[in-house]
Amino acid sequence: MAENANQNANAVVEHLRAWNSKAVEDVVEFRDETTIIVPHALLRVVAKECRDALQFDLLSDATCVDRFPIEPRFELNYHLTSIPKKQKIRLRTRVPGDHPYIDSLVPVWLGAGWLERELFDLMGIHFNDHPDMRRILLPEDWKGHPLRRDYPVEGFRDIPATYLPGLKKS
């Protein structure tokens, strides 16, 4: 079963490489999961190719890992599922901390809408062309993005504002 999954994943990687030689930066295999690392600028077209040519019709999840203080700190993971081919794959791209902007995948999968709003709310990543880029879980006057690694678990309560230089603007 695991071997089958790997062969299918290889077929996906090969298809993407043949389609555009720059589409695949790297491939990571860990615990029978295949991660395709995609350049920042090509994320949306690669996603579209995955949906149209490779039948990845369901966007299962979109999530982000903050590797602070390593730059580029954000690692964006999109988990795709193909219902007809019974296959899963992960697309990954890196987003820099000083300019956290990336193309939204809402034009490809409508289901990305809230998942990306959640990432905007909790991680502070901005998605270009997103139809509704508002906070979703937190109040709209909330300061900061709590799921970032430099945001303390207990929050910023009772800490004098002078100790929070990064939060004065936003």
């Binding site: 860990f30 615990r31 999961e33 991660t35 019709d57 369901l58 966007l59 299962s60 999840d61 999530t63 982000c64 890992v65 903050d66 590797r67 690692e75 993971n77 988990h79 599922t81 219902i83 019974k86 899963k88 992960r90 999968w109 409508l110 289901g111 990305a112 809408g113 809230w114 998942l115 959640e118 909790l122 508002r134 906070r135 979703i136 879980l137 937190l138 109040p139 709209e140 709590p146 799921l147 690694r149 945001y151 678990v153």
Partner: protein, 404 residues
């Protein structure tokens, strides 16, 4: 959570120049918690709906980053409070995948049995409250009567009725209690006729049909585009069930059907859930045959799984491992794992990233309620306001799961 209340001047179907914004929730009883929906109305027709969530946000994903892997198990119970065992299961499976742990078959079968009992109890709460929303009071009482029996079984197994934390990393918390077979058998014997009772009250009830048939239709294409999963997707005709498509915890050894329908309305989703309860009973029957009376319930993994009490008092190594597990935890290899299971509401996913430290670098839950809820505006558009309650009900959201 955000607020944008504005009365738009738009040209609407009936020619009215202005629409009205109605604030439904967060205290509305049929939103099953604290969901707020801004409904833009043209007379009685819904022009636009904007769900506003976050009232129950507890930052569980952030808290997980500050706990060791085993400590975070108890947090998962609190997400989807109608499906705590399913949440435990997906978290345990994700950490086990990260560690590369193999779980004994006996523990896997017990996990399957508990997950299916949980599915029935969750569907019972859904059926009862949904029927109550639509005015059928008695079904609620019957559903909660049977749910009580299931909660009693959980209490015997785990010592807790709801926040069980029974499924742990590497296996289970405890051996099944004495007399569990009789308890579960009694439930299995009772349930088919009880499900028949609910169906007798609802399925051919003319009021029920009038309130649910043809209401809240979403096509299979739209449902997939919106990443909808679970009974909602299956009612639209796609047999996508994680238990069949990506089997976990030995589900591939069980014989059961994935019910699908093509009507894709509130009635279809109701029928799917009723049939799923029957399928779950089949799985539990098979699981009971597979579970042996004796056998391990935890994987053999010193340093990760707490040792047996007996060994701790006689063996030096076990004592050291026990101390280390509870003081500093265990450290999986750096990497990521993503696991999906079929919760009563749809695809429940858990993504864990490890950086090689005893605490997760990132722990993300793909909650089915959250993702399914985003299609609500699409379903509600063009419906009349009285049907909004039926539509919200059949998506089957749990606000603890939506907001996390």
């Amino acid at each position: 959570m955000s607020t944008t209340i504005a009365s738009h001047s738009v040209e609407t179907a009936t020619g009215a120049a202005k629409t009205m914004v109605l604030n439904m929730g967060p205290q509305h009883p049929s939103t099953h918690g604290v969901l707020r929906i801004l409904l833009e109305l043209d007379g009685e027709n819904i022009v636009k709906a904007d769900p506003d969530i976050g009232y129950l946000h507890t930052g569980i994903e952030k808290s997980c980053e500050d706990k060791t892997y085993s400590q975070a198990t108890t947090l998962t119970d609190r997400m989807d409070y109608l499906n705590p065992l399913g949440n435990n299961l997906v978290y345990a499976l994700a950490v086990e995948k990260l560690l590369g742990l193999e779980i004994p078959k006996r523990a896997q079968y017990i996990r399957v049995m508990m997950a299916e009992l949980q599915r029935i109890s969750s569907h019972l709460v859904w059926l009862g409250t949904h029927a109550l929303d639509l005015g059928a009071m008695s079904v609620f009482l019957y559903c909660f009567r049977e749910r009580e029996e299931i909660l009693k079984i959980f209490e015997r197994f785990a010592g807790q009725r709801m926040m069980t934390s029974y499924i742990r990393i590497g296996g289970l918390a405890l051996d099944p209690p004495a007399g569990w077979r009789e308890m579960v058998s009694r439930l299995l014997k009772m349930m088919p006729s009880r499900i028949g009772e609910y169906e007798a009250l609802l399925t051919e009830n003319r009021i029920w049909m009038a309130r649910t048939k043809g209401v809240g239709v979403i096509t299979a294409k739209d449902a997939v585009a919106y990443s909808m999963t679970g009974p909602t997707l299956r009612a639209a005709g796609l047999a996508y069930d994680n238990r069949k498509v990506f089997p976990y915890s030995s589900y591939d050894e069980f014989k059961f059907d994935v019910p699908t329908r093509t009507d894709s309305d509130c009635f279809g989703r109701y029928m799917i859930r009723v049939q799923e309860m029957r399928e779950s009973l089949k799985i539990i029957t098979q699981a009971m045959e597979k579970i042996t009376d004796q056998g391990p319930i935890k994987a053999e993994a010193p340093g990760i799984i707490p040792p047996q009490r007996e060994k701790m008092k006689t063996e030096m190594e076990s004592l050291i491992y026990h101390f280390k597990i509870f003081t500093e935890g265990f450290s999986p290899a750096p990497g990521e794992a993503y696991v999906t299971v079929e919760s009563p509401r749809g695809e429940l996913g858990c993504f864990i990233a490890s950086d090689g430290s005893p605490k997760p670098l990132r722990c993300h839950f793909r909650s089915p309620s959250f993702v399914n809820l985003q299609a609500l505006p699409r379903i509600l558009e063009g419906q009349i306001i009285a049907d909004a309650v039926a539509c919200i009900g059949t998506i089957d959201i749990v606000l603890g799961d939506v907001d996390r």
